[in-house]
Subunit: 391 residues, 2 copies
Amino acid sequence: MPLFSTEEYRERIRKTEAAMAEAGVDVLVSADPANMNYLTGYDGWSFYVPQVVVVSADADEPVWIGRGMDVAGAKLTTFLSHDNIIGYPDDYVQNPVKHPLHFVADRLKERGWGKKRVGVELDAYYYTARSDRSLREGLPEATFVNADLLVNWIRLVKSDAEIALMKEAGKISEKVMATALERVRPGVRECDAVAAVYKAQMSGTEEFGGDYPSIVPMMPTGEKTATPHLTWTDEPYGNETAVNLELAACRHRYHSPLARTAWIGKNPPEKLTRIADVTVEGLDTTLAAIKPGMRCEEVELVWREIIAKAGLEKESRIGYPIGVNYPPDWGEHTASLRPGDKTVLKPNMCFHMILGMWMDNWGFECSEALRVTENGCETFAEFPRKLFVID
Amino acid sequence: MPLFSTEEYRERIRKTEAAMAEAGVDVLVSADPANMNYLTGYDGWSFYVPQVVVVSADADEPVWIGRGMDVAGAKLTTFLSHDNIIGYPDDYVQNPVKHPLHFVADRLKERGWGKKRVGVELDAYYYTARSDRSLREGLPEATFVNADLLVNWIRLVKSDAEIALMKEAGKISEKVMATALERVRPGVRECDAVAAVYKAQMSGTEEFGGDYPSIVPMMPTGEKTATPHLTWTDEPYGNETAVNLELAACRHRYHSPLARTAWIGKNPPEKLTRIADVTVEGLDTTLAAIKPGMRCEEVELVWREIIAKAGLEKESRIGYPIGVNYPPDWGEHTASLRPGDKTVLKPNMCFHMILGMWMDNWGFECSEALRVTENGCETFAEFPRKLFVID
């Protein structure tokens, strides 16, 4: 039932151990659900309680430690031998005195890792301040090293098997966006359009179903287009207004986001069509320029120069890596397509390139999820790049 | 646009300040998105970057500090004056050197709070180890106090306005469960049944729409009923098998979960019908027994005694408080319906009471979301309590 071959997991672990050696880490305690999945295959909605995967160069394979009731799920979804799947008793859950990371510390000591250099992900979601404190309390003789993003950087270059899933997610994302453009209509409640989008995300295609994306559908309209992270209401969509559709599809936790903008009404304002033209030209040209060997900042420069010709500029980054992930974010938090980022593109790096231009109270955005190929790049979805007009 | 009256927010803050005084906290830095919403009204999918609400007895009202691009959303959704909504520059985001909690520390010092007793939520989701470390680095003269769950305990008793939203969520949950029972059929792909459930969750009713619940739909079948947190696949539902439906509806972030069990096939096994009868009897009797003044452990004892008569026992807790929340959990992490919990029930406390009995490779579960009333309790949904048979 693990998604990938054991050989593929072992290769990921070999790379992780090499990065650990370089970072001076003997034992890595990873609490990021995406890293736990990447290293072992573990996939469950159990990250609301503390759980970790432990990697040590002197162990055959990683150790999964989580809540007792999730052990059965770990046995079904990981490639690990059952000896390396350990559950903590339920009285560790939401207990003001003892914490699951105390239990983790005890298991580490048992394996002779109590005095090692222990790497922890200081800024990972779900690795709370108390998790960190409890692990340190339990391992007073260990040396702690910040190993934040260590595994995330390895995730940056995908395997062909991972790419295959992202292509499937890309196919689903086409249906998701088509559904949104079909359902957003004046007088239709936002929640009903969102409901149709969710249905399309999960139903997927006839060949393969969808998984829950790590971010909910964002479909702001009117004054909310200036506030990127407010979710929907049950108000009807208006007329003569823009709607930004920031959506995604997911396949076995692998994401392919897709953003488009629509104008609800007969005649989009000239300033919106103009900015749409510039943005789409920028997107086309930047996609055409991407190739292995280029640096992230050079990709951003292509875009920057095109919009500068139109007298525009955009301050925020224009892209970030994507792949396996869990709520609250599908971004990998490593490289960024922005000035100063010297990361060199390699084949099978995957990015969500999202170009958005916001004016006072409306904006235009258009994005593609893409893979760097041997000599360029390809997008996971095929969907027209333009301002859609819903009249 | 804030959901509740300013007076209601002020009352919540007064209670928080009283709890702070008792806990020896001068300044509370709350990073839990549910607490941020409770104290100010803030509602956005922006908790994937650090953000906080700061409460101090010597300030007129709380201060919201988050990412610059989310300031507009905070202005739209909170009751705060715009002076108390502060955005940090975007170069704090995913920056290996400076962290948003350094920015928060600077704002605290500006307000003369640099030497105060600062309360932090050590085990709150999204308050990472690095968040805690950065705040301490930035406030070397402050005294830190663990204020974990301080606001959660205040959330335990709901206002009538909160109850009104939970009743709406309860109404939606009836439609959600009816949809699931209608769509789960032999040969139907799990992802398609889940898609219909999502659609029902968001569409809500004709009068009011739905919001995204904090946990995805759980609809395990076959051997996965023994693994509570694995999500769906695109395999078809089988025949002669059980399916556990652990669902919810949400209205403006207020939850009403609902769990039922169905047997797909003509004749459910006698051991399943027997355990369903005992569980439903236990649920009915426990609901009838609940009244203000009872302790949480006494509620659990009613259930325990009923199943003991049938020769059964269940080790885990049978309920937890619910209300406003964000992924990854709709539970409030305070009281529990379990032995040893001395919390005294009061009117407008709301619980998800979930009774589940798991055998080797199948189980039966049945739940209700409920409010303690002046003299008993009432459920938010009305839905038959029984084993459903889908044939």
